[in-house]
């Protein structure tokens, strides 16, 4: 493509800027509103940090934050272990079972969230398991694990098939070869998978909504009920803080990768 002319270049930048503005406008609005002294969404009633104070005093928000993080961390750990093992297992299977397993792994991705959530809800009700923290965790592990497999698999496929066998020939025990050859080879994939699992579970609403009771709320389900109730400026404060935290995290990551 010859994008030499300054005009087309300007146009392209302008277009991208517009799209970015579209994506960021609500977030900017949220952040501005979080400093509004009043409760109204539209009227500016002076600058205040009132809602930030409220945020940390609100037991329900703090509880839900705890549940969200706990579920995300636990689901990440379990699904990473489960998924990595499964990826190694599936990789060493014969062709038939392998493709069967991959279809099974892709199945949750093709199922709409609402169906996944409802089907798990039915399972818990059918088996008379009280819904709550643990059922939510189970659900999160269930939808996280396929993503871990899907990010580890490509790394395994890229690996030289004979490295592992060479290690065995050189006298390594299978467990040594596993820990020192296989796992390091797909380390990058495992990390990506874990990160993906963490973010997916942090952001999930639909599946959590159906698999928990009103007693155990994560941030998403809490926001959902708050949104039905009316204006809740503390949530604006929360999202502003989340945004700043994310930005800081990204800057750190970016800096570290550029240093490497």
């Amino acid at each position: 493509m010859n994008s030499g002319s300054k005009l087309t270049r300007f146009f392209k930048r302008f277009y991208l800027a517009l799209i970015l503005i579209f994506l960021y406008i609500p977030i900017i609005v949220l952040i501005i509103q979080s400093f509004n002294a009043g409760k109204s969404r539209a009227k500016w009633e002076g600058f205040s940090l009132h809602w930030y104070g409220e945020l940390f005093r609100s037991a329900s928000i703090m509880n839900s934050l705890e549940v969200t993080l706990l579920v995300a961390v636990l689901a990440m750990i379990v699904s990473t272990v489960l998924g990595t093992l499964a990826a190694i297992g599936i990789y060493s299977m014969k062709k038939r079972p392998q493709s069967l397993m991959m279809t099974l792994t892709n199945l949750p991705n093709t199922m709409p969230d609402i169906v996944t959530g409802i089907s798990l809800m039915l399972l818990f009700i059918f088996t008379r398991v009280d819904r709550g923290f643990w059922t939510m965790l189970l659900a999160h592990i269930t939808f996280d694990t396929p993503y871990v497999i899907l990010s580890v698999m490509p790394k395994l496929k890229q690996m030289n098939k004979h490295t592992y066998e060479a290690a065995l020939d050189l006298g390594a025990t299978p467990s040594y070869a596993l820990w020192h050859v296989l796992i390091p080879e797909c380390k990058q994939g495992i990390i990506t998978g874990a990160m993906l699992a963490f973010t997916l579970s942090l952001d999930d609403f639909t599946i959590s909504y159906f698999t928990t009771s009103p007693l155990v709320q994560n941030l998403s389900t809490l926001i959902y009920s708050a949104a039905r109730r009316g204006i809740e400026p503390t949530l604006n404060a929360l999202s502003a803080l989340m945004f700043v935290a994310l930005l800081a995290l990204l800057l750190v990551v970016n800096k570290r990768t550029s240093e490497n």
């Binding site: 010859n2 270049r9 392209k12 277009y15 991208l16 799209i19 970015l20 579209f22 994506l23 406008i25 609500p26 977030i27 609005v29 509103q33 969404r41 539209a42 489960l82 998924g83 093992l85 499964a86 190694i88 060493s92 299977m93 099974l104 792994t105 093709t110 709409p112 969230d113 609402i114 169906v115 996944t116 409802i118 039915l122 399972l123 398991v129 709550g132 643990w134 659900a139 592990i141 269930t142 694990t145 497999i149 899907l150 990010s151 990506t192 942090l202 952001d203 609403f205 007693l215 155990v216 941030l219 998403s220 926001i223 959902y224 949104a227 039905r228 989340m242 945004f243 994310l246 970016n254």
Partner: protein, 326 residues
């Protein structure tokens, strides 16, 4: 307590057995020096998927094909086709004949499909140029721009959707702005347009990323070769770049279409509950009416529809090269 686990005894038994088996398996596979069956590593996952993916789907099927008394019936599907079906049985014979076929469920489905189609088309229209310009090497934009596109996705989507409400309300920011410059306010919310906006806003990044990935993987020499062979930039775009990015487009369409059909929060917040989408309908069947049988039938229908559309899309991209964010 919040973290109490109240499980039936057999669940503990099951979990205990699974754990013991798993530990045994690991111990054995480490101990045995030769011929370790690594394929066994997948068994915990297989078991997990059976329990928490396959069994639940079977349960949906079970509820969809049974009545409240647990016997086999197709009534739930008749209820989808004729939303007045249950009502006709309850009002008594004298009135039943006066009730026409209820089209609520079918209408909601077609409306959802139409909205999802519009959302996908709009996302493609807005997203393709964005991805194209981002991938343009002459622009020297680099990865920082990609990061800028990712950040909003990490913010809770419910919060972002609610923020749109403050912008679109009659006394919201946009209308206040319009009035302050002396224009008439317009009603932006409580209609399908607002719902569509909310959907495009939420799903646009899912369109941009796969297209961007497949575009940036393209060999730059290809379009240069096209130029050397006398193609205008426009021709090169139409004949080389776009066809080669098709896998990305397909994957983008899949990733936008699927969640759009099943949205159930956006219509309520931005549409003021004036329009119901299929997701809303399913949710209300389960959580407001407590009618699991019809709810399951509706879920099953949606699942089948999505599987069909996916397989059509797969035909267009048989190698599955599109790749998503993963």
């Amino acid at each position: 307590m919040r973290y109490d686990m109240q499980l039936p005894w057999w669940a503990w038994l099951l979990m205990g057995t699974a754990l013991v088996l798993f530990i045994l398996m690991v111990v054995i596979s480490v101990r045995r020096n030769h011929g370790v069956k690594r394929s066994l590593f997948a068994s915990p996952y297989t078991l997990w998927m059976l329990l928490f993916t396959i069994v639940p789907v079977i349960l949906i099927g079970y509820y969809a094909f049974t009545g409240t008394d647990g016997t086999f019936t197709l009534d739930n599907f008749r209820n989808f086709w004729d939303s007045n079906f249950d009502m006709k049985k309850l009002v008594g014979e004298e009135y039943a004949s006066t009730i026409p076929r209820g089209t609520v469920n079918v209408d909601t489905l077609t409306y959802s499909l139409w909205m999802a189609f519009l959302c996908t088309a709009l996302s493609l229209l807005l997203g393709y140029p964005a991805a194209l310009f981002m991938a343009d090497r002459n622009m020297k934009l680099g990865s920082s721009l990609v990061v800028l596109f990712i950040i909003p996705m990490w913010m809770n989507f419910l919060l972002r959707t609610i923020a749109w409400m403050s912008l679109l309300e009659d006394n919201g920011l946009i209308n206040s702005l319009l009035r302050s410059i002396g224009l008439e306010g317009v009603q932006l919310m409580y209609n399908s347009g607002a719902v569509l906006l909310g959907m495009v806003y939420n799903f646009l990044p899912f369109m941009v990323f796969p297209i961007y990935t497949s575009l940036s993987k393209q060999d730059i020499n290809l379009s240069e070769a096209a130029a050397d062979l006398g193609c205008s930039p426009m021709q090169a775009l139409m004949k080389v770049t776009i066809p080669l990015s098709l896998p990305g487009v397909i994957s983008g369409i899949t990733m936008v279409f699927m969640p759009s059909v099943t949205t159930f929060f956006i219509p309520r917040v931005l549409g003021g509950g004036n329009t119901m989408m299929f997701g809303d309908l399913i949710e209300s069947k389960f959580l407001t009416e407590g009618n699991w049988n019809v709810g399951s039938a509706l879920s099953l229908i949606m699942m089948v529809l999505i599987l069909i559309s996916l397989s059509i899309l797969r035909k267009a991209d048989p190698n599955g090269e599109g790749g998503g964010i993963v």
